[in-house]
Amino acid sequence: MITKIIAIGITTTLAVVLLKQLQPALAVVVGLIGTALIFLLVVSGLTTIISSINGIVARTGMATQLFSSILKIVGIGYLCEIAAGICQDAGSKAVADMIVLGGKIMIMVLALPIIESLVNVVLGVLG
C-alpha cells in the first residue's frame, strides 16, 4: 500500500517538474490527478480508522452527537488542507487563502453547538 502511495507521489512530482517547463497548465492537472489518486488509495484506510473509532465511541454510549460533529470538522479540515495545498502549488495563493477561510467558516458553523454547550455548562457550574 505504502509503496503504491510513494510510487504515485514520486512519479507525479517528476511529471510535474518536467511538465512545468513545457506545459505549465498541464502540470497543475497532473498534480491534481496524482493527489486525487493518493487520496482514493488512502480513503479505504481512513474509513477503517473512522469506523473502528466510531465503534469504540458507540460502545461508550455517550456524546455520539459531539463525536459525529468532530468527525465532520476533521473531514473539512483534511479537505481544506489538501485543496489549499494544491492551489498554492499552482501559484494562486489568494485562492488557497480563500479556501482556508471557507473551511474555517464551515468548521465554525459546525463547532458552534459545541462551544455553545460549553458556555452553558460553565455558566451552570458558576451559577
Binding site: 473512522i50 473509532i53 469504540i56 465511541v57 461508550t60 454510549g61 455517550m62 456524546a63 459531539l66 463525536f67 468532530i70 468527525l71 470538522i73 476533521v74 473539512i76 479540515g77 483534511y78 481544506c80 488542507e81 489549499a84 482556508v100 473551511g103 474555517k104 468548521i107 465554525m108 459546525l110 463547532a111 459545541i114 462551544i115 454547550s117 460549553l118 455548562v121 460553565v122 451552570g124 457550574v125 458558576l126
Partner: protein
C-alpha cells in the same frame, strides 16, 4: 456479671432515642441499630471479607464508569491531530481549538457530577454529625463524663455548623474558580494564568489548614482537662457510696459500675458505628474523585504524543483542582473521625 451487663445494655438501648439515625443505612445494607447490635455482640468483625469484596467491586465499577470519557478524549485528540501536521497556518489551529472545546466539554460534564457528589456528601456528613453527636453526648453524660460532655458540646456545634459551612461556602467555590481558571488558561496557547491557579490553591491550603489546626487543638486541649476532672468526680462519688452507705454500700457501688460500664460500652459502639457510617458515606466519593483524577492523568499521557499540547496540558493541570476536592472530603471526614475517636477514648471513666 456478663448476663447482667447484657441486660443493662438492652435496657439502656431501649430507652435511647435514636431519632432519624434509625433510618440511616450503612454500606447500603444494615441500618444503624442492627449495626450497633452487631458491634455490641462482637459479630460485626466476622464480616470483614464482605466489606473488602464490596470495596473491590466499587473500585471496578468506578474504573469502568470513567473509561468512556478517557476513550473519547483520546479518540478526539488523535483524529484532530491528523489535520495539518507540521503546518502552522491554515485550518489546523481552529480544528485544534474545537478539539480542545470538545475535550473540555466532556471533562466539565464529569467534573460537574463530581462537584454535586462532593457537595451532597458534605451535606450528608453534616446530617450524620447532627444525628450522632447528640446521642454520643447523652451517653457520655450517662457514663459519668458530664464535664467532658459539656465541654465537647460547643466543639460539636463548631464542627457541624461552622466547619461544614466553611467547606461548602468557601472551599468548594475556591475549587470551582481554580477549575475555571485552568480551563481558560489553556484556551489559547499563549495565555498565562498559572500564577492565578497557584494563588487559589494557596488560599485553599491556608483555609483548610487553619480550620484543621484550630479545631483539632481545641478538641485535644479541652479533652485532656475534662477527662481527668470527670475521672476524679466519679471516683469521689463511688467512694462516697461504698464508704458511707452502710452494709449495702459495696453492692451499690458495683451496680453503679455496671450501669456506667453499659453506658460507656454503648457510647463506644455508637461511636464505632458512626465511624463505619462515615466510611460508608465518604469512601465511594473519595475513590471516585481519585480514580477520575488518575484517569485524566492517563488521558494526558495518551494524548501528549499524538495531539495538540494544549489538551494534554489542560488534562495535567486538572490534577491540582481535583486534589482540592479530595482534600475537601478527606479533611472534613478526618475532623469528624478525630472527634468520634476522642469521644470514644474520653469519658471511659470507671
Amino acid at each position: 456479671m456478663d448476663e447482667n451487663l447484657t441486660a443493662v445494655i438492652d435496657e439502656t438501648l431501649s430507652q435511647l432515642d435514636f431519632g432519624d439515625l434509625a433510618h440511616l443505612s450503612v454500606f447500603g445494607g444494615d441500618n444503624f441499630i442492627t449495626l450497633l447490635g452487631q458491634i455490641l455482640s462482637g459479630k460485626f468483625f466476622a464480616d470483614y471479607p464482605d466489606v473488602f469484596a464490596g470495596i473491590i467491586a466499587l473500585l471496578g465499577g468506578l474504573v469502568v464508569a470513567v473509561l468512556p470519557v478517557v476513550v473519547l478524549i483520546v479518540a478526539i485528540t488523535i483524529l484532530c491531530g491528523f489535520v495539518g501536521t507540521g503546518k502552522e497556518r491554515g485550518v489546523s489551529n481552529l480544528v485544534y481549538f474545537v478539539a480542545y472545546a470538545a475535550v473540555v466539554l466532556l471533562v466539565v460534564g464529569s467534573v460537574v457530577d463530581l462537584v454535586t457528589l462532593v457537595g451532597n456528601t458534605l451535606n450528608s456528613l453534616k446530617t450524620q454529625i447532627d444525628l450522632v453527636f447528640p446521642l454520643l453526648l447523652t451517653l457520655m453524660a450517662t457514663g459519668g463524663a458530664k464535664t467532658s460532655a459539656g465541654i465537647y458540646q460547643p466543639a460539636v456545634a463548631i464542627l457541624s455548623s461552622g466547619i461544614t459551612q466553611i467547606f461548602s461556602g468557601v472551599v468548594m467555590p475556591l475549587f470551582i474558580i481554580s477549575f475555571a481558571f485552568s480551563v481558560v488558561a489553556h484556551l489559547a496557547p499563549h495565555t498565562k494564568l498559572d500564577q492565578f491557579i497557584a494563588f487559589f490553591s494557596a488560599l485553599f491550603k491556608w483555609v483548610v489548614g487553619i480550620c484543621f489546626t484550630v479545631f483539632l487543638s481545641f478538641m485535644a486541649l479541652q479533652g485532656i482537662t475534662a477527662g481527668s476532672f470527670d475521672s476524679i468526680s466519679i471516683r469521689a462519688a463511688k467512694m462516697t457510696v461504698s464508704g458511707y452507705v452502710p452494709i449495702v454500700g459495696g453492692y451499690l457501688a458495683q451496680g453503679f459500675d455496671l450501669i456506667m460500664a453499659s453506658a460507656v460500652l454503648i457510647k463506644n459502639a455508637v461511636g464505632l458505628s458512626g465511624i463505619l457510617l462515615l466510611l460508608g458515606i465518604v469512601l465511594a466519593p473519595i475513590l471516585r474523585v481519585i480514580i477520575f483524577s488518575l484517569a485524566m492523568k492517563l488521558a494526558a499521557a495518551a494524548t501528549q504524543p499524538v495531539g495538540d499540547s494544549r489538551i494534554s496540558q489542560f488534562l495535567t493541570a486538572l490534577g491540582k483542582p481535583l486534589s482540592m476536592l479530595v482534600t475537601c472530603l478527606l479533611s472534613v471526614s478526618f475532623m469528624y473521625l478525630i472527634s468520634l475517636a476522642l469521644f470514644i477514648m474520653t469519658g471511659n471513666v470507671i
